[in-house]
């Protein structure tokens, strides 16, 4: 049962993605650690951290794609789950500082000493242990998403209304975390980390390790998402996206399905946040900003929603562009981002992956026609299934004739 579940995740496209990811996970740290600084192939330290950050963004985008691309839930609040995972990891890192803080208190983080707090608040207990923090990285976003989803999906809040309350959720958390009495460092957040699992957080090897961990987390979550979207459950999700009431009248409890992917997606976002924080060295309430969540949606749209690979690609490309733009033409970046979203929505409804697969299909079609003209006996078939058409196609039909226009419908 389990093996068939995982086996379902694999095919040529997943294989290509895994091969690229394996190369990245091995080569980037190796080129950073093993090659001398003068070498052409040496990857500088800052680049390792930067790319590690991209990988955590890619994981966040993957989480959004699972709920938006496949189930039609347009979340404009996923950065909240990302930030909560980040805070859970940040609390662990704060507790690791110990007496090395500015005030040298063995238990209390610096900001609590500064605020004259006498003792550690109860919700900081246990965060000195990594396993506990790791559990919280999953549980805190997961439980919040479950409770939020329980009420939202049971009351059949859908479409724009749901998007708006997810924005409200992340905004409420932003305001709450800004307050000093919340006990999460207020405006400044958590920073000045020293080490993680006993390793110096500034060391090159630790950074390379964090990079590899981000890559592995991305690969693992990708495989889980893919196994899900290619299962019968994945087909039900697409059914919900396309015709929710029809799905209900077939006897499926739509709210249970939505709750399942929503919670899972929030947990993935939490993992992304937890890997993000040690690499950038800080977590503050700014991560809850509503604009952040919207940006994630843009990444997914640019890459191609409902494709999984597209979400990863979109996140990396847009963030690479952001890094370049904000350095070279800082004033233009926001215009460029806005413009990009408009262009993608108008001209590339299926994103980059959609365009590439369409082009590939057209090319193959042309070649088949040419072969036919040249005298081959095989008549030109219909458009072969594009390599990047949505992954919800059952293996049984994958060799058959599927037009490439199986695109996700826009959420209301």
């Amino acid at each position: 049962m389990m093996s068939s579940f995982l086996f379902r995740a694999m095919d040529a496209r997943a294989g290509l993605f895994l091969a690229i990811m394996a190369a990245v996970i091995i080569l980037v740290p190796a080129c950073n650690l093993l090659l001398p600084e003068g070498s052409t192939f040496h990857v500088p330290n800052y680049a390792v951290t930067l790319m590690g950050k991209y990988l955590t963004y890619a994981l966040l985008a993957l989480a959004v794609d699972l709920v938006w691309g496949y189930c039609g839930i347009l979340s404009l609040g996923h950065a909240a789950f990302f930030a909560l995972g980040g805070y859970a990891m940040g609390m662990y890192l704060m507790r690791q500082i110990g007496t090395r803080g500015v005030y040298g208190d063995p238990i209390l983080p610096d900001f609590m000493v500064f605020l004259n707090w006498g003792e550690l608040p109860w919700y900081w207990y246990g965060f000195d242990m990594f396993w506990f923090a790791a559990l919280m990285v999953l549980l805190v976003p997961g439980v919040l998403a479950f409770v939020f989803g329980w009420f939202a999906f049971r009351s059949r809040v859908t479409g724009v209304y749901l998007s708006i309350i997810t924005q409200a959720l992340t905004y409420a958390l932003l305001l709450a975390f800004f307050r000093n009495d919340m006990g999460f460092g207020g405006n400044n957040g958590l920073t000045d980390f020293k080490d993680i699992l006993g390793f110096d957080i500034q060391a090159d090897t630790t950074r390379a390790g964090l990079f590899a961990a981000s890559g592995l987390a991305l690969v693992l979550c990708f495989l889980i998402c893919r196994a899900i979207t290619r299962s019968k459950l994945g087909k039900v999700l697409v059914a919900v996206r396309d015709a929710e009431s029809r799905t209900r009248f077939l006897g499926y409890r739509v709210e249970h399905y939505k709750l399942f992917v929503w919670t899972l997606s929030a947990m993935m976002a939490g993992i992304a946040g937890a890997l993000y924080v040690p690499q950038v060295g800080i977590i503050n309430p700014g991560e809850f900003a509503p604009a952040n969540s919207i940006e994630v949606v843009i990444w997914v749209a640019v890459g191609g929603r409902g494709t999984l690979v597209g979400a990863v690609l979109g996140a990396v490309l847009v963030n690479f562009a952001k890094t370049w733009f904000t350095a070279a033409l800082p004033d233009i970046w926001l215009f460029a981002l806005g413009g990009l979203f408009v262009v993608v929505t108008l001209f590339l409804p299926k994103g980059i992956v959609g365009i590439v697969s369409q082009g590939w299909t057209a090319l193959r079609q042309r070649k088949i026609s040419e072969d036919y003209e040249a005298g081959s006996d095989e008549p030109p078939s219909q458009a072969p299934q594009s390599p990047a058409s949505p992954a919800n196609v059952s293996p049984k039909t994958s060799s058959s004739t599927l037009p490439a226009d199986a695109e996700p419908q826009p959420a209301e």
Binding site: S4, I228, L233, S245, F249, G251
Partner: protein
């Protein structure tokens, strides 16, 4: 007919929307194995009646019982579907970005929970059943086609096929012949008659030729309640029916 021997039993059902009485003390009984056609002018409450039976709309008052014992007013859409009531919408509603095959596979009677579907592997028996349904709805050659690429009539059939895949005791079919060519309409009538051999069917339809070709008992709705009941010839002879509906 007594409630206990009926398949579907509606008694004194009223629904109002903002003061407008969509259903007004509607009483209707369907016997097991029966096929019934429901006609009536626009706004007579045909679709609202379907909504009440399938759990989409809760009645303000009245009783709705399935199988003589199950109170449908306390159930939601998913559990009513599980009880064995399938519904076809007025506008054909299929999963457009799924293939014809997948549409039927999703409709097949099977555990409906998320974890059951997550680990589901399609069995040989299920494949056979889908193949059988594909033949029945005459879409065998389109099995790998996306549902979005089907013609209007084919979508109607696919939806009927999905209904059958659920293996319901009662099928509610809302305007199956709408937008069909004459030939398709005739074929649809044949298909429904086939289905009625081993299912109970309620058909809502405007098309009199179609209703006549079904040759079953007809219920005429008007302003949310039953105006007349009987064979088509019998209700056509009723003056009130002629006045509100046929005479227009």
């Amino acid at each position: 007919m007594a409630r206990s021997s009926s398949l579907l039993y509606l008694d004194g059902v009223s629904v109002s929307f903002d003061g407008f009485k969509a259903l007004n003390e509607l009483s209707l009984t369907i016997a097991p194995g029966e096929m019934r056609a429901i006609i009536g002018p626009n706004g007579a409450g045909k679709t609202t009646m379907m909504d009440v039976i399938t759990g989409k709309t809760r009645p303000d008052s009245g009783e709705v019982f399935f199988n003589g014992t199950v109170d449908l007013t306390g159930e939601d859409e998913a559990s009513i579907a599980e009880l064995g009531i399938g519904r076809k919408f007025q506008k054909p509603t299929v999963f457009e970005s799924h293939t014809v095959w997948d549409n039927l596979e999703l409709a097949l009677k099977a555990p409906r929970g998320p974890f059951a579907t997550l680990f589901h592997v399609i069995s040989g028996a299920e494949k056979k059943q889908v193949d059988h349904l594909l033949d029945l709805i005459r879409l065998g050659s389109k099995r790998n086609e996306l549902a979005a690429n089907l013609s209007h009539g084919q979508k109607q059939w696919l939806e009927i096929g999905m209904l059958l895949a659920q293996d319901p005791k009662l099928l509610l079919v809302d305007e199956p012949a709408a937008g069909m060519t004459d030939a398709e309409t005739a074929e649809t009538a044949e298909l429904l008659k086939d289905i009625a051999n081993d299912h109970s069917v309620v058909v809502v339809e405007h098309d009199m030729v179609f209703v006549r070709s079904l040759g079953v008992k007809v219920t005429v709705l008007h302003e949310g309640s039953v105006l007349a009941e009987g064979s088509l010839d019998h209700v056509s002879a009723n003056e009130r029916v002629v006045e509100v509906y046929l005479g227009r």
